[in-house]
């Protein structure tokens, strides 16, 4: 549905996206993951024909963004970072306006507006002024305008940013419910979101793709050796550290925060070693209290940080 080949976007003073390539198949939900300023929005803007690429090629639904922007625009629904709403309009009126812009036949507009209001659960505020809606509702109005012409491709730029946890949940559910009919690219810097809603992840850092993989494969990638957070009470931190280092299978012990009477460590095991039971036993046998024992390195967060950190070392160039 979407192919990007060697895409580069250079602004006056810096390169936002460097020679990236990826593909998104029909019906996939792809998470575009990266820190702020990594090039997510730029890539999306190229795909929506808002910005032309400096070099490289991008096609959406078989149409080239440079050669056939009109066709591309017909095939995408786009939610920019801030929902593009007119605060003085009411919801129904706004959606009618967008429907006309997207070229929906006049006779079908009212029906489509009702459908998307139903779909995005904004039917109850249909006649309210957008400027008076809460952020969560406004975001859903933004999604409603993106899907009003039922486009095969949806591009959502940080659809959950700035929402409270409950609203985030609603928006995520909404996106998941759309996944059957649309190919979706969404960008985010919230990792749990990717884990929940996406089938594939593209991690981008400083304008370059550092990983393209399924969520499951990425998880595996980080788990060749086990790493554990451990917190012990009622003992001297130095003693505990020495004891932990003696546990078989432990490669490294890193001291973390030490509060009054408590000392925390991060313990890394050797490759393929199972160290958690041994650690627990060692602590208890020494007569200390084990207050926390938590496996680390399983969250996407770790992998993400790992991937983006290693890039940093190589370059050392300023981000912007």
């Amino acid at each position: 549905m979407i192919t990007v080949e060697g895409l580069t976007k250079r602004y006056a003073r810096h390169v936002a996206v460097k020679n990236i390539s990826f593909e998104v198949g029909k019906g996939e939900i792809v998470g575009f993951l990266g820190k702020n300023g990594a090039g997510k929005t730029t890539t999306m803007r190229v795909l929506t024909c808002f910005l032309p690429p400096t070099a490289g090629k991008a096609t959406v639904a078989g149409f080239d963004v440079l050669e056939q922007p009109h066709e591309v625009k017909k095939n995408i629904g786009y939610l920019p970072e801030t929902p593009p709403v007119y605060p003085e309009m009411d919801v129904a009126e706004y959606l009618t306006f967008v429907a006309k812009l997207k070229g929906i036949a006049s006779g079908d507009i009212a029906k489509r507006v009702d459908e998307v209001c139903e779909r995005t659960a904004i039917a109850d505020v249909k006649n309210k002024i957008i400027g008076k809606l809460s952020k969560g509702y406004r975001q859903r109005v933004g999604i409603a305008q993106a899907i009003i012409h039922n486009p095969p491709v949806l591009i959502l730029d940080e659809p959950t940013s700035g929402l409270d946890p409950e609203q985030q949940l609603h928006v995520r559910e909404l996106i998941a419910s759309l996944s059957g009919d649309h190919t979706i690219i969404l960008s985010t810097h919230i990792l749990s979101e990717v884990e929940q809603s996406c089938s594939k992840v593209i991690i981008i850092n400083k304008g370059e793709i550092v990983a393209v993989d399924s969520v499951a494969a990425l998880h595996k990638r980080g788990r060749t050796s086990e790493s554990v957070a451990i917190e012990v009470a009622g003992a001297n931190a130095v003693e505990v550290r020495q004891r932990l280092e003696q546990v078989p299978g432990v490669a490294r012990v890193i001291s973390r925060d030490a509060k009054e009477g408590m000392s925390g460590f991060e313990v890394e095991g050797l490759e393929h070693a199972v160290i958690r039971p041994e650690l627990a036993r060692a602590v208890v046998q020494s007569g200390w209290d084990l207050t926390e024992l938590k496996p680390l390195g399983e969250s996407l967060e770790e992998i993400f940080l790992e991937l983006t950190r290693s890039e940093k070392k190589e370059e050392g160039a300023p981000a912007q």
Binding site: P52, E71, Y78, E81, P84, K100, L101
Partner: protein
């Protein structure tokens, strides 16, 4: 065409749901009303004096009331039009809705034309205040309607020119104050350009004076439609809108 109408009606609506439309119409009505009052009062006094002295034939309402009034309206227009045009693109750029317009399957020139037409409708509603005043003259007298018609045609052309310039300036900035201020300065400049002709008799001076928008208006207020003035206004409108479309396009590559 449908896209132009969509954009245009959205613009008209946003003028009329906000106080902007009523403020502009009120201001223009107030100023024009005052001019109208003074002009007719002067006309009546002058007319009575002439009658008492028993001299000459009837004074022409067209010449003594309508023509100077329309001249005033064109100057007042210069001051108020930047308030109409400043928001056209600057507001959309500030709020991010420009992304919606530019990623929808419509052409840049359709956006530009739609917005300009919306602003024209706003300007015309402002002129309605003047029409209402002038209509009174027709109710109580029999002025010649032809110069009135050409006068309003001239006002439309002149307003359209300034709006086209304002639309272009608005598309270059996110800041409405800057857009309004810059448009106002340009309007002022285009007005005072005509003053050059009084002290600079060289061809260059004459050429500069020719660019003044107001000098092209004068014939209209006297009932003359001169092709060179129409061409001047129409080509200025075209240039303004063309540059706006280019400026929108440059948003994409400059970003």
């Amino acid at each position: 065409m449908r896209n132009i109408i969509t954009i245009c009606s959205k613009e008209i609506r946003s003028y009329f749901v906000s106080p902007v439309a009523y403020l502009l119409m009120g201001l223009f009505g107030l100023i024009f009303g005052y001019f109208f009052f003074s002009a007719t009062q002067y006309f009546i006094i002058a007319g009575m004096r002439q009658q008492m002295q028993g001299g000459g034939g009837a004074m022409s309402v067209n010449e003594f009331v309508i023509a100077p009034l329309l001249g005033n309206a064109s100057v007042v227009g210069l001051f108020l039009i930047p308030l109409i045009s400043m928001r056209l693109f600057a507001e959309e750029k500030r709020s991010g809705t420009i992304e919606l317009l530019l990623t929808s399957p419509i052409q840049d020139w359709e956006i530009v034309l739609g917005k300009w037409m919306g602003a024209m409708v706003m300007y015309m509603s402002m002129l309605l205040m003047a029409v209402a005043n002038v209509a009174l003259l027709f109710a109580y007298g029999t002025p010649d309607w032809r110069p009135v018609l050409t006068g309003f045609l001239g006002l439309l052309l002149q307003g359209g020119t300034v709006l086209a310039i304002g639309t272009f300036i608005s598309s270059t900035t996110k800041n409405q104050i800057i857009a309004g201020g810059a448009t106002f300065s340009i309007c002022l400049l285009l007005w005072v350009l005509s003053w050059v002709s009084s002290y600079n008799e060289t061809p260059i001076g004459q050429a500069i004076a020719y660019c003044s928008i107001l000098t092209h208006y004068e014939p209209f207020s006297k009932g003359i439609i001169d092709t060179k003035d129409v061409v001047f206004y129409v080509s200025a409108i075209f240039l303004g809108l063309f540059m706006t479309a280019r400026s929108l396009e440059s948003l994409r590559w400059r970003a």
